[in-house]
Amino acid sequence: MNMHVPRIHTAGEKALIAAIEAARATLPGNGDVMQRRDEAAGLLRAAGLPSRKVEAWHYTDLRNLLRGIPVGAGAGAGAGASEALIDGALMLRAGDDGVGRLDDVADMPEGVAVASMASAFASGAAAPLLAVASDHDAVGMVSAAMASTGFEVLVAAGAQVARPIQLDFAASAALHAVNRINIGAGAKAMLIERAHGGGMSSLVTWLSVADGADVTFVLLQDAADDALHFGRLVIEIGAQAKVLLLAVNSGGGLVRREIDVAVNGEHSDFKLRGMNLLSGRRHVDVTMVVRHRVEHTTSTELLRNVVTGEGRGVFQGQIRVAAEAQKTDARMACNTLLLSDEGEFLAKPELEIFADDVACGHGATVAEINRDHLFYLMARGVPEAEAKALLVRAFVSELLDDLEDEALHDALNDVLSSWLATH
């Protein structure tokens, strides 16, 4: 049943619809799952991709930006080697073949249970994960229509998991995954979700953090320069819980990353630390909403963006404070260092506050390299490129310097270093 008036599709829309149709026969799922897929595909066919006329896509005019589907290295190429971001991490790997590989299942940390999403597709338990929010929810549509792999991770209440858990998605042509991660009450864990490789990929993750839990979550996207990537992370946070989210984009061609956080329990804290390294011709859009729903919660969102070449970045950050959410303290800052005339970064911070006793603020700045600083460093013999790299690192360092976990600090520093070395 299709109530929408058929419309003429762009080349990008045609390619996307064709990709979905071609994949359908091989996708896993029971009747419920397949119904969700078909609904998503139908919606895409009817509504098309969102254009800049849709507010949520105003700075990422997907209808015009998506010209075709990048082929990547080709379906047969196999997943690239993927190292652990942090040495010793438990690796859960998925590639284009739809098979989620669980390394060292025998050696699972105490209190951790992991499973491939395969059985949830087969049973239909995965159906609710294939949700499409509206007729301009392109991320939801792509994911629901094509997700074929992913992981379920359960961390038991009270478990203190020292070993980081990395969900690793290495695409060679097309990789679409959904994940569900539940962190039990009082548990402590670090999770890393890495999207890399080429072609088209989508990653939708549902993270639930129960009361009193303490979670560090790293979202790393370092895909190929022409890769098309859709990401979504939905987080529900209970009472007295702490979530630190590190969202890093250092690759990709056309990237949309959505982060939706619901702070549902009192006395909990959410922190976003975002590092966007934009070079070449990439377009990276980070669209975030944090919903403060109850009293006495805090959040800080700090982004540091570095733009070179013709890189283009977008941050849409919305903080919503419900009428009941008195005593909310929320601060958002988005700072950009612009290294080229052709690059740009568009920041749209928004506060939507219905409570009257809150402390909320936001700010966005764009600056260039400080010429006095550059002169000083060069006057000591540091060549221009190296001096600029030092200053870029200085700009980003504030984001990384207050990370307590040294291994994580060093790992993200390495991501920055390798980006600096190649751009």
């Binding site: 600083h373 002169f375 000083y376 460093l377 060069m378 000591r380 540091v382 700009f395 360092s397």
Partner: protein
């Protein structure tokens, strides 16, 4: 060693001429003092020697060991042995002082075809030199110059000079903001580096510094030109009589 010939330079942005036909010759081993009223162009001259691109040379040349440096960028000039001690050293948040010292030393070594320093050697040489300048290791743990007092910044400049061992140091009002004890510490640092192959261009407002760093030659810079040159006695004369009579004579 350094030969400046009929130098004319202007502010790149608005074209205002600041240096107007300046001649200066500094020999190896020489300590040349440059004095002059505020606004004469002393700092501008030091920036132009260092290669700052806010200024455009419109006429004349700067020869360094016989070759023009006008086409060299700031880092290349530094690596060739020219050091500028800033009148106002920059605070650079986020850049760790120790890392900066290491990066700059190794950048210069690399430009001269030397291997990078090993970390223990680096730390040792920094500690030795810092101790002589009363610079605590605590200070060096901070970001570059951030939160340093005026005197600490100047001492940090001298530390950098000692570590980088330049062939010529241009010191822009290194004495300003220093009390007498700090002034002596700084002067000792400079004097320790004096030698037959190394030259200094000491820019100062006051003769006081020259009691401690005794110059071979003294030059008066006024309105972008050297209007008078002499020996150490010239500095003493200026201290007593001011610039008026020399300016009048030159006019």
């Amino acid at each position: 060693m350094l030969e400046i010939r009929n130098l004319h330079a202007r502010i790149a942005e608005d074209g205002t001429e600041i240096i107007r036909g300046l001649d200066l010759h500094v020999k190896p081993g020489e300590v040349a003092a440059i004095m002059g009223p505020n606004g004469s162009g002393k700092s501008t001259l030091s920036y132009i020697i260092a290669g700052r691109d806010d200024y455009e040379v419109t006429e004349g040349d700067i020869l360094w060991n016989g070759e023009s440096i006008l086409e060299m960028d700031v880092a290349e000039r530094a690596a060739s042995g020219i050091f500028l001690a800033f009148q106002y050293p920059m605070e650079i948040p986020g850049v760790a002082t120790m890392e900066f010292l290491k990066v700059s030393m190794n950048a210069q070594r690399k430009a001269r075809g030397l291997d990078p320093m090993k970390t223990p050697d680096f730390i040792r040489v920094v500690k030795e030199n810092a101790a002589k300048l009363n610079i605590s290791m605590d200070m060096l743990k901070r970001p570059l110059n951030v939160g340093f007092s005026g005197g600490e910044k100047k001492r940090a400049e001298i530390l950098q000079m000692q570590l980088l061992q330049p062939l010529m140091a241009v010191m822009d009002e290194t004495d300003s903001g220093l009390d007498i004890d700090a002034l002596k510490v700084v002067a000792d640092g400079v004097n320790a580096l004096r030698g037959p192959d190394r030259a200094f261009l000491v820019i100062t407002h006051y003769q006081r510094l020259l009691d401690y760093i005794v110059p071979d030659t003294v030059h008066v810079l006024y309105k972008g030109r050297i209007i008078h040159s002499g020996t150490r006695e010239l500095a003493l004369h200026l201290e007593e009589n001011g610039y008026a009579d020399i300016i009048a004579k030159a006019a």
